[in-house]
Amino acid sequence: MLKRVSLILLFVGFLWGQVSVTASVDVNRISQSETVGFKIVATNADGTPNVDISPLLKDFKIVSGPAQQTNIQWVNGAMTSSRSLSWTLLAKKEGKLNIPGLNVNIGKQAYRTKPIGITVEKGAGRAQMANLFIEAKPDKEQAYPGEQVTVTYRLFTRLNLSIEDIEYPKSVGFWNEDLRVAQTVRFRDTQINGVGYKVATLYKAAMFPTQTGDLVIAPMTAICNVEKPSKRRPSGVFDDPFFNSMFRETQRQFIQSDSLKITVMPYPKSPPADFTGAVGKFDVVSWVDTPVVKVNEAITFKVRLKGTGNLNQFNMNTINFPQNMEVFPPTSSFKRDEFRDELTGELSLEYILIPRIPGEFRLNPVTLTYFDPAIDQFVTARSPSESIAVKPGDKSEIASTGINREDVAFIGEDIRYIRTQTPKWTPRGEQTIPIWVWGTYVIAAGLFIFPGMFSKVQSNRSSTAGIRRAKGALKVALQSLSTQAEDPFTHTAEVMYRYFQSKLFLASEHLDPMILETALMNKISNPLILETVAIAKICDAGRFGPEASEAKDTLQMQAGELLKQIDGELA
């Protein structure tokens, strides 16, 4: 039994063979712009190889991969299987490079490949690679820190191609600002030394050195698919340029620009104390929205910095505002001019100032010290100073404390405290309407009722005035007769006639004894009529002659007695 198992195992081992791992390249000598194919093959492996390729990345860049492939072959009844992983590599530098031995794990087994040497020759020059190249061209090779170096990357070609990918340069020691990134590549025709080329600008960047010394701008790489005529040439009826164009093949090609060396020189003089790193050419203007304000009214102070240079790389100098003027943090905006290769733009700052006391204030000029590479000198741009007249405000002035005020914030919240003053209690269930509320209704009712009632009383009084006068006639007459007059005849006559006017409702104002007699006829007894007429005549005689003077003293009394008797009969 044991022998049988051993034989089977021997057979399987023979059948499957030994597991081996090998690494290989398709070519050992390349130029720097060419790629090399790198393949790891695991023969008779029962699993996919797992490769640690990190050692490769030191000298090579992986362009594509890994691509997996599995092959099974039967040769003379023996099966051979192989699993391969392949990469396309691009050398990062020239010279003799080494693909180091790599660790390969298959299942739990670990293997190591052998190192492979590769010779990378200097990249083909423009003459050699005349059909396709990228030109990197700086506008200057020497610059000061902060000075703009514009680098243009242009693709020259004599072939039909499409660009698959571009890797833009990343350089240490520069602050990079994109000026133009080609979204679509547009070629135009040009000539170099009489040879026709198509040229397209791929990328343009403004690079601002941030340190001095010799700095290197890394190359730009691009992957192109270049059209090449197919080697398989059809024959017969299809042997025609028209059909040939249908059988063109594309080949991937990697191109790389040259590295650029920029010498960054120190400034010719030591920078002034207020120099904050501005390099280029700038202009500063400032203004206030209104030069005359009242206390506690806001003023807007605007500062505009306009120019060409490293606009985002420096800060404005601190502006010293007058005391007793509250200053709120500024709002800022930056507007970049997109249509220039030089980085041009406008930085705007807007301060809100609130003067707290009246008076004349002067805002200091806003200054910016910058280095102008065109004249190799430091220059200070200065805005004109602004004067502000602050007049007394309408409200009481608030003395400036120099402290920015803020809203009163709750630290903790709690209920409000109890009321300790004894209130005016309302007995439970006896909530009443206060008397003054009723008072409003009484007043309102009065306003409606009294005007009507008043007019009714008035009309009633006027309609009964004669009767009331008749009733009170004797009383009035006796009162008048009780006082001794200087001229008793006239006085008595007036009182008597007024009495009879009221009592008998006589309309006539001018009475005499005859009218009186007629008026009294049938109303009182004859003797009383005669006596009345007699007294009236005495009064007239006394008023107009001296013959009745003996009756002067008793006349008022007689008249009073007589009127009492007449009133008794008239009633």
């Binding site: 709690d414 309302t426 409003t440 309102a444």
Partner: protein, 248 residues
């Protein structure tokens, strides 16, 4: 010292009159004896009413952690004086601590404004307002009778005053119906199961409400009340768990 004063007060029957009871309650409150303060205020509230009394009672309950009773007291005070700033503040402060968040359905804007006006006015306010409007109408009448105001102007002012008076009358009626019809109550238990029927069975719980939530009582049965929430949820709960704001 406080204890001695309080003992003396009680001994000499000082605390038998409303003013004395009120001051006694305040002393308890200041001495942080909130339970005694609340008892004193409660005793006083059975004799007299005033918004300050309910403010103090609510504060005492709040300090004791009795959220439901505190809201009840503030609501009582609010009914008496809906524009009292301290009462409003404390009521809102304590309401914010109620666990249940009940969102009433949105009213039409004019209805919401009308409701806010009605809520902030008492019947006494409305009676007073009507009195002043009557006086205004009376003045216009006198002016018109005596020919001291142009007929047209008098008519316009009269019309305005009449519309205001009728509106006030309507609001007054509405307020009266609200006061007399609504039976509001505050939940005073920490958490209460509201059931679909006035029977205590495990399966008939429909929702649960917490201390301080305001409910309307729609029906009563021995030991049970049927309540409806502002959002329309309805159910039965034990009567001992709520304290009514207005007598049923």
């Amino acid at each position: 010292m406080n204890r001695i004063i309080l003992t003396l007060c009680i001994t000499f029957g000082w605390a038998q009159f409303p003013d004395s009871l009120y001051q006694l309650g305040n002393r308890y409150y200041e001495a942080e004896q909130y339970q005694q303060a609340a008892n004193t205020y409660e005793k006083l509230s059975r004799q007299v009413v005033h918004e300050d009394l309910f403010l103090n009672l609510g504060n005492a309950y709040f300090r004791m952690g009795e959220l439901g009773h505190a809201i009840w007291a503030y609501e009582k005070g609010y009914d008496l004086s809906p524009r009292n700033g301290d009462l409003n503040y404390n009521l809102n402060f304590v309401r914010a601590q109620v666990r249940d968040r009940i969102i009433p359905p949105d009213d039409f804007i004019f209805v919401a404004i009308y409701r806010a006006i009605v809520e902030k006015l008492t019947i006494l306010d409305l009676i007073t307002l009507a009195g002043f409007l009557f006086i205004g109408l009376g003045c216009i009448y006198v002016l018109r009778v005596n020919g001291l105001i142009a007929d047209r102007m008098g008519g316009i002012v009269n019309g305005f005053l009449l519309v205001f008076l009728l509106s006030t009358g309507w609001i007054m009626l509405d307020k009266y119906w609200e006061v007399s019809d609504e039976k509001e109550a505050i939940v005073i238990a920490a958490a209460v199961d509201v059931r679909s029927a006035p029977i205590e069975r495990g399966e008939n719980v429909v929702f649960r409400i917490h201390e301080g939530t305001k409910v309307d009582i729609t029906a009563t049965q021995a030991g049970w009340v049927e309540v409806i929430l502002l959002d329309g949820k309805k159910g039965w709960m034990a009567a001992e768990n709520v304290r009514t704001l207005r007598s049923i």
